[in-house]
Symmetry: D2
Subunit: 162 residues, 4 copies
């Protein structure tokens, strides 16, 4: 396997454009971010998700780069969905006492404008916390302050096995 | 930049576990898939999306691997959303005459069961095609035939600039 | 109260147009439908909901009339939502053993075409039945066979108090 | 027709309980509200919808009564959907210049708590106004201040025929 990975890397480096190198850099840094526990998943790592808690709101942001593009070179709708689901789900889990977790049961995203500029930031706010479900509101904002997506998520609360 | 990428790669290889190597392999293959136009985006490449058209339905499938995991080691809800959005959006675009494109305006996903097993396959079917919007139904099924997510997407039709 | 109702009725009858009489007829018949247990609610009665079970699918249909109109004289989006929620919720409740009930936790409706013609029929089908939730798909079709709305609903299962 | 309506009314009055009389009162008043243009539709009239504009927010409220009940004697999910769709749609239409209208293309409702108490009030706020779509956020609150539903709606802007 090591040789195969080394060979693949060499092939990718041969004739790599500046954009290719940027992509490789972001992906490899993503692996490191996961390893250093800066992110809890490879997905979080390769999108370089940063998070910040402020007054009951959670913000998760990512840089816009070729890694996040769809084939039209704007942010892939799936990346926006992943970003806002992560922000809402992380916040939902932070609301729970130890020993409990929350998983997404419904995700609804209205796409309002193309994701362009330097970064996207998802802002999550709890709308309702019940004994069985948490409903969270999420807005995704571009660097120039424009709301590019509006989302709601419903999360089911479960007791973790220990 | 080349030196930086080479250095990052060496760091990732040092002490890499089998899982780390698998992840690096999938990510580097993703870059190649994009380069060879097997996928239209880096996202499509690193998730190793394969697509197949059958009788008006479009199927897009991905292997389940550490690249697709969330922090609980089941498929990240954002990956499932990305998969089904890609299947529905690709189908929507295939329905249009040349010179037209379709972008997601609303994505709704009900998560039904954890994404486990070998692969996930999204099946997309057109529900409605109007002059301005297309509505598509998407189901995500695991290798054992279980529906793990049910989705609907609304797509806005636009005339491409030429 | 009786006198007040009688007075109101007389006022409504004075100068009532044919359309007014049709509306009064449908509303009063709705009260009777509820009384005769043809419908379980006043809402069901005044919309004159009829239901039919066929092969695991549930159909609920209503006549289109001034009672169902919005201010533009096409079917009010809320009426379509009520119709499809009723069909999906009734089906969800039919899937459960005695002593259990299901309530809507999420309703998503894509409106595809204006509700016109003689009747609207909602067709509900179970997509997923778990131990805690049921997800149902609902389509609303007009008399000429056109799908005018596509919906999904998520229902939470609870044990009834006895 | 007049005789038929008179006969129906007499039948409804015979043996009417206090609840029946209340229902008849609300339905007949609804017809009058529509006639007096207090409401733009019969639906709005029979639910006795009242609206109030405050600082860019629109509030629409209804009394909770047997007219709004489902078969479990809590507010029918369809009524809540109708209320919030009306508030969001009315606001969307108020944002437009003369000669333009907006119709719902997507309605998503998270039901958070049973609708109980005296009144329900839907609060609508514009999230995004584009050239082709308006996205609105809607919250439904009970008399005691509890959010019982959280909704988003997407509206398509069209030019009215003149």
């Amino acid at each position: 396997m090591r040789e195969q990975v080394q060979k693949l890397f060499n092939e990718c480096m041969t004739g790599a454009t500046d954009e290719d190198l940027l992509i490789m850099k972001q992906l490899l840094e993503g692996i490191q971010r996961k390893k250093n526990s800066e992110n809890g998943s490879i997905i979080g790592g390769i999108f370089a998700m940063d998070r910040k808690m402020t007054d009951g709101n959670l913000e998760v942001s990512i840089p816009i780069s070729p890694v996040t593009y769809n084939s039209l070179e704007i942010v892939h709708g799936g990346v926006t969905a992943t970003l806002v689901d992560t922000a809402m789900g992380t916040l939902a889990n932070m609301m729970l006492p130890e020993g409990y977790g929350a998983v997404t049961t419904n995700l609804n995203v209205h796409y309002l404008a193309p994701g362009v500029g330097e970064r996207l930031t998802a802002h999550a706010t709890v709308v309702h916390q019940g004994s069985k479900t948490i409903v969270v509101d999420g807005k995704v904002v571009s660097s120039d302050g424009k709301i590019i997506a509006h989302s709601t998520g419903s999360f089911f609360i479960f007791k973790k096995n220990q």
